[in-house]
């Protein structure tokens, strides 16, 4: 990873709404090896097909989710901002990213190690359930939005 990175300070875990309300012990466990990262505009946070080994929580900036269809121009399908989370492929085998994510503004993330997350979630089912309840609405909303985009409602 070329982005500048340093170990994540514990205070960062209370800065992101996705992590609000979790047991401190659980947060400390999933925070093992977590990094506080900065991304320059144009830099990719993830690339389609690459191993999904990090879970990025956006603290600042803006990230574009892009699809590369080689016969067409690259398409941005969604932009994410502070408070959003980036992706769930790290949880779904075979743990490969399904799209590109590119910083369009200077961006800062709290990045959790996927391997640590998977291990901790496996071991702490009650916390894992609460964690998934946080993640599921993100997935549901993006699926619903994708459906509306298929409808091309503004194009009629």
């Amino acid at each position: 990873m070329r982005a500048s990175a340093r170990p994540a300070a514990p205070a960062l875990f209370t800065d992101h709404p996705f992590l609000h309300g979790f047991d401190p012990g659980f947060l400390s466990e999933i925070g093992e090896g977590a990094e506080d990262r900065s991304w320059e505009p144009g830099e990719f946070l993830l690339r389609e097909g690459a191993e999904a080994d990090w879970f990025h929580l956006l603290l600042h900036g803006k990230v574009a989710l892009e699809l590369e269809a080689y016969e067409k121009p690259r398409l941005t399908i969604q932009t994410l901002g502070p408070g959003d989370v980036l992706g769930w492929s790290w949880l779904v085998p075979p743990h490969h990213w399904q799209l590109d994510a590119r910083a369009v503004k200077p961006t800062r993330t709290l990045s959790l190690r996927a391997e640590v997350l998977r291990r901790v979630l496996e071991r702490r089912p009650a916390d894992a359930y609460r964690f998934l309840l946080r993640l599921l609405p993100v997935i549901a909303t993006r699926v619903q939005n994708a459906r509306l985009q298929i409808l091309d409602v503004h194009g009629v």
Partner: protein, 291 residues
């Protein structure tokens, strides 16, 4: 032949206002291209006369000689005397013929018709405007009205969703609005190329982050029905009451007089009782398929 009395009585004896029944010839004085299929036209009466006043959210029937007539919302400033502004997308035969006019051509105008945005409801409250696609056009007159009386209400939040950056209407004007400090104007598109640095996503995604006091807010929604439905649900989830939300509906208006039956939506004639309806009334009907 002697006719002692007219059995129609006082109401039936009235004539329709001029311009309601037959189109009034109007000259195209300005034509600006908004996108690949959409233009904005400014019209003046061909006889040099005046247009009747209109309120934000109303529509006119635009007629192209020998082709036909189509309902188009008024999208200019209600306070601008002398001309009427319409933004038209080439969708069918008639609208394509209207989009294809040149400056100097004559179109027929009937109207204005329908019920507009309840501007008075905004007094002392926050205002949220959520628009999608061509839905910005019927809302623009309301924005002019609101910005003219900016001190009469609280926050003004506008979210505008377009299909792609190339489909964004009123681009220059939106840039000016975006730079104002007394309104927050956010634009988002469904999809974009790399040359777009703005937001990509649906208007509904922005609703959780809007700043307003749910107990003292009125919302205007205009755009595709599915977008208005989702937006209204998101606003309700934020605590806004359904009777504080207003939606602009669309159906195939033919007569615009509440007489041909085409635009019925439950008990409402969209042309007469709408196009702006209160979401509290619309909500149960949106739950009925094929109404």
């Amino acid at each position: 032949m002697s006719m002692a009395s007219d059995p129609l009585g006082p109401t039936g004896g009235e004539s329709s206002p001029p311009g309601a029944f037959a189109p009034v010839p109007c000259v195209v004085v300005r034509r600006s291209v908004e996108s690949s299929d959409t233009v904005t036209l400014a019209l003046r009466p061909a006889d040099g006369g005046d247009f009747p006043p209109f309120s934000a959210g109303q529509f006119n029937m635009l007629y192209r000689f020998g082709v036909g007539e189509v309902a188009v919302s008024l999208s200019g400033d209600p306070a601008a005397a002398g001309e009427r502004v319409h933004t038209v997308r080439a969708a069918g035969k008639v609208s394509s013929a209207i989009v294809g006019v040149s400056v100097g051509d004559v179109l027929g105008v009937r109207g204005p018709f329908g019920a507009g945005w309840p501007i008075d409801e905004t007094e002392g409250r926050d205002v949220v405007v959520v628009v999608g696609g061509l839905g910005i056009a019927p809302v623009r007159p309301a924005l002019y009205e609101l910005l003219r009386q900016r001190d009469r209400f609280g926050r003004l939040e506008v979210i505008y969703g377009a299909r792609t950056p190339a489909d964004i209407l009123y681009y220059a004007e939106l840039q000016r609005w975006r730079s104002r400090h007394d309104l927050r104007f956010q634009t988002t598109v469904d999809a974009a190329g790399r040359d777009w640095y703005g937001d990509v996503g649906l208007v509904t995604d922005r609703i959780p982050d809007l700043r307003f006091d749910p107990t003292q807010t009125v919302a205007f929604l205009c755009g595709p029905e599915v977008m208005m439905r989702r937006s209204a649900q998101s606003l309700e989830a934020r605590g806004l009451r359904s009777d504080a939300i207003f939606v602009s509906m669309e159906r195939n208006m033919k007569c615009a007089l509440g007489q041909c039956g085409h635009c019925q939506f439950g008990a409402s004639f969209i042309c007469r009782d709408g196009p702006v309806l209160c979401y509290a009334d619309v909500k149960p009907r949106w739950n009925v398929r094929e109404l």
